[in-house]
Symmetry: C2
Subunit: 222 residues, 2 copies
Amino acid sequence: MKKAIVLLSGGMDSAVTLFMARKDHDVEALIFDYGQKASKEVDRAILVAGAAKVPYTVVDVELPWRGSSLTDPDIAIPTAEESEGAKIPSTYVPARNIIFLSYGVSLAEASGAEAVYIGAHQVDYSNYPDCRDVFFAGFRKTVEAGTRSGTEGASIRIETPILNFSKGDIVKKGVELGVPFELTWSCYDEGKTPCGRCESCVLRAKGFADALVPDPLLAKNE
Amino acid sequence: MKKAIVLLSGGMDSAVTLFMARKDHDVEALIFDYGQKASKEVDRAILVAGAAKVPYTVVDVELPWRGSSLTDPDIAIPTAEESEGAKIPSTYVPARNIIFLSYGVSLAEASGAEAVYIGAHQVDYSNYPDCRDVFFAGFRKTVEAGTRSGTEGASIRIETPILNFSKGDIVKKGVELGVPFELTWSCYDEGKTPCGRCESCVLRAKGFADALVPDPLLAKNE
């Protein structure tokens, strides 16, 4: 099987993407510690990689300028209701997916992988500009023009297999593939249990409700 | 004056770019420590920022997979002659400029800067794909589509003021602007003095020769 890199966050979307990519690729997970308040994401990502039996690399991404409620201790994580008014909510992290994908492409080139997978989706999502097909189209052109693989051989593919899945579709696909949802973490905040109020918690709940499946993470906390 | 971010490497090209940008922007320098053998580049970049009287931020960029003779202790830095046969030499670092520009865009968005400057040039250069106009065109589209600034307001500009300068033009422009070339470091290797044989040393020498200006860095070492 050919090699692929999967960007793994600890959340449910990238976990499902990992299990999809694993079906026909020799997968390496790439995990980022970027100073997010929900630092347990990193531990959860490592657990998910372990459950999927794939090797992983954790990279520290320094963003000392912050610029997001996900990373700045002086800006509170908004509730889903508070986010709703904003075209792009304060949880947007400047250029985050461009940075993460760039690391993925770097590792792919250095390790001979043919693709980088990312679990972005643009249906039930938070209005992040870097989760939309128009962004990925631009990034693919950048990789094609700006890398050794793109100019001398086949460009590293940027794969977004759940881009047009609803949150419910993502849960269903994960159940089908045996994704250990109980290990994943979606909450933006740093509490011991999910806050249930941030946009990410609300979207996760919507996904499980739409799929008519109980969320095993919440079951554990009951 | 509006704010701009300048990617500063410690080499002569980004130093000239910094002094060009400084003329009409309130500049912040962004310096990367990415495990390069020529680690003194970082110190030199800090000295250049000091000479230009601009604030700076140093970011550690972890690339544990290496993939380049600039970072891998097991791969020797090639001489200019050895590089010449290669379409893209072993000194190419996978996705380096995509990563660096992405950090630049992140800082620009978080700090309200309107542009990111990079000292790439495609005339007397090393065949790096991520130094060509077609790459920057792709990256600009990526930023336009994938950032808050690009979708809600004016996209962060990616400025490449010396893209079509010859190495001699770069030296002449630097002399005109008072760039302290004696503080800059171009050699790819980790020696106390420039090796004089790597492609970067050879291109630097060509630049000073074409401009009919002695290189003050070599004068200091005599």
